[in-house]
Symmetry: C2
Subunit: 436 residues, 2 copies
């Protein structure tokens, strides 16, 4: 992605930083200020894409031409040779986290650390948003096949791709998006569309033709009349065609699933699975858990995080040249300093409490933020996504019951350490300057 995918002010500030020789080391952290309603935890995601971006960030000639109409030559010169060569610390993808906890820290010369802000936020915000939404369906229906069906109403191409990645990382079985399958190695799934049935003069012909091309595949039942279509599936099986499953996509899914299951069972098709889709989210899936539905296609509500399509996240300067920084804007004040999250668990391994303190603190507990990039180079090769997914599952296992519920809001205790409180006071004393 082009390095011009950034807010104009990143470049405007860059110019001033260069003019003032303000190129000393800055520390920025990305965190979520508070959890949205109906989210008891968040799932960190998007780190791999951030590291790709930082490793490859350069400016093309045409981009520099465009900027040279706006900025003086010394800015263009700086960008011409631009490489990100800073340090990155982060929580592993799939880690459960809470408000105010930094999931990514950039330590780099101020102009560099500033310039990467927009895209880092754009990536971490979205993947974390979707992984955190997907987690709720996974916890609700851990034993069902869940497939991302959202590409068509995802917000553009990248949203479709990254939603497939984030939802798989969070425990989905796969996606319908072919390119996500190729790009990320995610399992892909598909059935048929209503148009396929409609393009035939006869629904039975449509089913037969599809079964001929794709033995064992899934037939869509609701184009005209769901139960009548289920009868046709039974008839088709009697002709000798192999039918793997059927899909319901409209109407009262619980009612149709019951009737269709009976029809299939009566016809001897006990192994033919029922897959449901159509405006589903974790609440709908939860209501359908007692129905004979083996899997769910979840689309729009997942990939737009429909109930809360944004996280109140920030990428904030915490230190410049060794001096702690914070803003005190009303309702948006931040905690200064280079931070670490210390996680405490109970005897059964369940999350008990998190403490946010300074990196230099030596509190007990697991340290969640670790080094992932040194001098602009990854410290580890790209982790296979199946491995990331396993790690997410291990994280779910550490959730206490109260945080697993999708229909009750419960807050995990997150403490701000005394060290940080003290540092804030010192930072405040320094930053208040009377009019000179």
């Amino acid at each position: 992605m082009s390095a011009l995918l950034a807010d104009l002010y990143e470049f405007t500030m860059l110019q001033s930083y260069l003019e003032q020789n303000m190129t000393k080391t800055a520390v920025f952290e990305f965190f979520v200020r508070k959890l949205p309603p109906n989210r008891n935890f968040l799932v960190a995601a998007g780190l791999e894409e951030v590291l790709d971006f930082l490793e490859n960030m350069t400016f093309l000639e045409e981009e520099l031409d465009y900027l040279s109409g706006i900025f003086p030559a010394f800015v263009i010169d700086y960008l011409q040779g631009f490489r990100f060569d800073g340090e990155v610390h982060a929580m592993a993808e799939g880690t459960i986290f809470f408000q105010n906890e930094p999931i990514l820290r950039i330590t780099a010369p101020l102009p560099q650390a500033q310039l990467v802000e927009s895209r880092i936020m754009n990536l971490l915000h979205f993947e974390t948003l979707i992984a955190s939404k997907a987690a709720r369906s996974v916890l609700t229906a851990p034993d069902r096949r869940l497939v991302d069906f959202g590409l068509r109403r995802a917000h553009g191409a990248e949203a479709g791709l990254l939603a497939a990645r984030a939802s798989y990382l969070a425990g989905f079985s796969g996606t319908a998006t072919v390119l996500a399958g190729m790009k990320f190695g995610i399992p892909i799934f598909g059935t048929m569309a209503h148009s396929f049935v409609e393009a035939h003069e006869d629904e039975m012909d449509a089913f037969r033709n599809f079964a001929r091309s794709h033995p064992g595949s899934t037939l869509l039942l609701d184009t005209f009349d769901t139960e009548l279509a289920a009868e046709k599936v039974v008839a088709l099986a009697r002709e000798g065609w192999k039918i793997g499953g059927v899909r319901l996509d409209s109407g009262d899914l619980a009612m149709h699933a019951g009737k269709v299951r009976s029809i299939l069972d009566a016809g001897g098709l006990r192994d033919t699975v029922i897959f449901a889709s159509g405006n589903l989210d974790e609440y709908a899936v939860n209501r359908l858990l007692d129905c004979p539905i083996d899997g769910f296609g979840i689309g729009t509500a997942l990939v737009t995080s429909e109930d809360h399509p944004m996280l109140d996240c920030a990428y904030k300067l915490q230190e410049y040249d060794g001096r702690p920084c914070r803003k005190r804007s009303e309702g948006k004040a931040t905690w200064p300093g280079t931070k670490q999250v210390f996680r405490l668990r109970d005897s059964r391994g369940k999350l008990e409490k998190d403490v946010i303190s300074l990196e230099c603190d030596d509190l007990e507990g697991e340290r969640l933020v670790g080094p992932v990039m040194h001098e602009g180079k990854r410290l580890h090769p790209r982790t296979p996504i199946a491995r990331l997914r396993e790690r997410t599952m291990q994280n779910y296992a550490s959730l206490p019951e109260s945080l697993r519920k999708i229909d009750a809001e419960n807050a995990h205790p997150v403490e701000i350490s005394q060290l940080i409180h003290d540092l804030s006071k010192r930072a405040d004393r320094r930053e208040i300057h009377p009019l000179s």
Copy 2:
């Protein structure tokens, strides 16, 4: 964008269509089933990107390699030479439209028309969603500068870019996203970030350095204390620095705007404008209209269409080989046939009624759907975005008062013609088939 950005079932169906020689002409239409709450109209957007996609759609070797692990050789052969060579009819971008009205029609051999479904929906859905959201701010504050600030919380890179495009098309003044400026020729705007102030030991130094680099630019006031910062701006002006504007980004914006305006005016800075940002949407802007605020930066709520991040849209087969098609799925039934929208206006040019009928009908009124692509080639060169924006403004002028309100839901009359009702009955009679 890769042609693999598609749901798997598009390819699965393609295989069967090819096997069955079902390659006759199909007509698909894209429309929105119903308007979301708080939307009295929608603004068509995304057509240029759809035409780009259709003109350039091909499969790369590596993509075909991936597919060859899933599909038989004749499918790969077909895709190897794939070019979209169909017809496209559409409403012009910027056209106001309503439920069930097709804004795009694809007429092409069935396999082609099917294969383009996912990406067409992905593009039209998102840009239309954002243009329709942006329109509400523009109608609320037609005399203020409105700037898209949403990149960081847009759903990925393309969402950031297309949201900038769609909101400009809908009447915004510009965007903060540099790449959108370069790519689409949209004006770009920017101020400064809190980090710039924090990186300095003294806020006054930060302001002075920024004013030195960028004479006439906008200073951010709320890092520590908004009114104290406004006093510093006055002091700075007395030193001879030129300050174009100030930005408020937190707290009670109405209160701060009043106080800051007084401070600036008392200091002789009557021409220094006040720009506001921070979790704004059209409702917040509406409440702030009486305040001395000259412009608004609108971010997350705009680019995610936060109150309703999706449209209930569909891309449906309406005709195959001259035969009208429809599905009758519960709650998702569609109207068959190749359609046209006839728009009737009153004597003052305001929208009075729309009638959806068949293309072959000769009703009175403006026909909104026209040819834009023939045999896979654009009929017209790309329209400059400033021209599209003017057209949107002309469309707003045709809105009756009842539809302009952002806080009242009013429905524009949209009639389904007798011809379509008759055709539906005929299609239904044909499509009901008893079990054979």
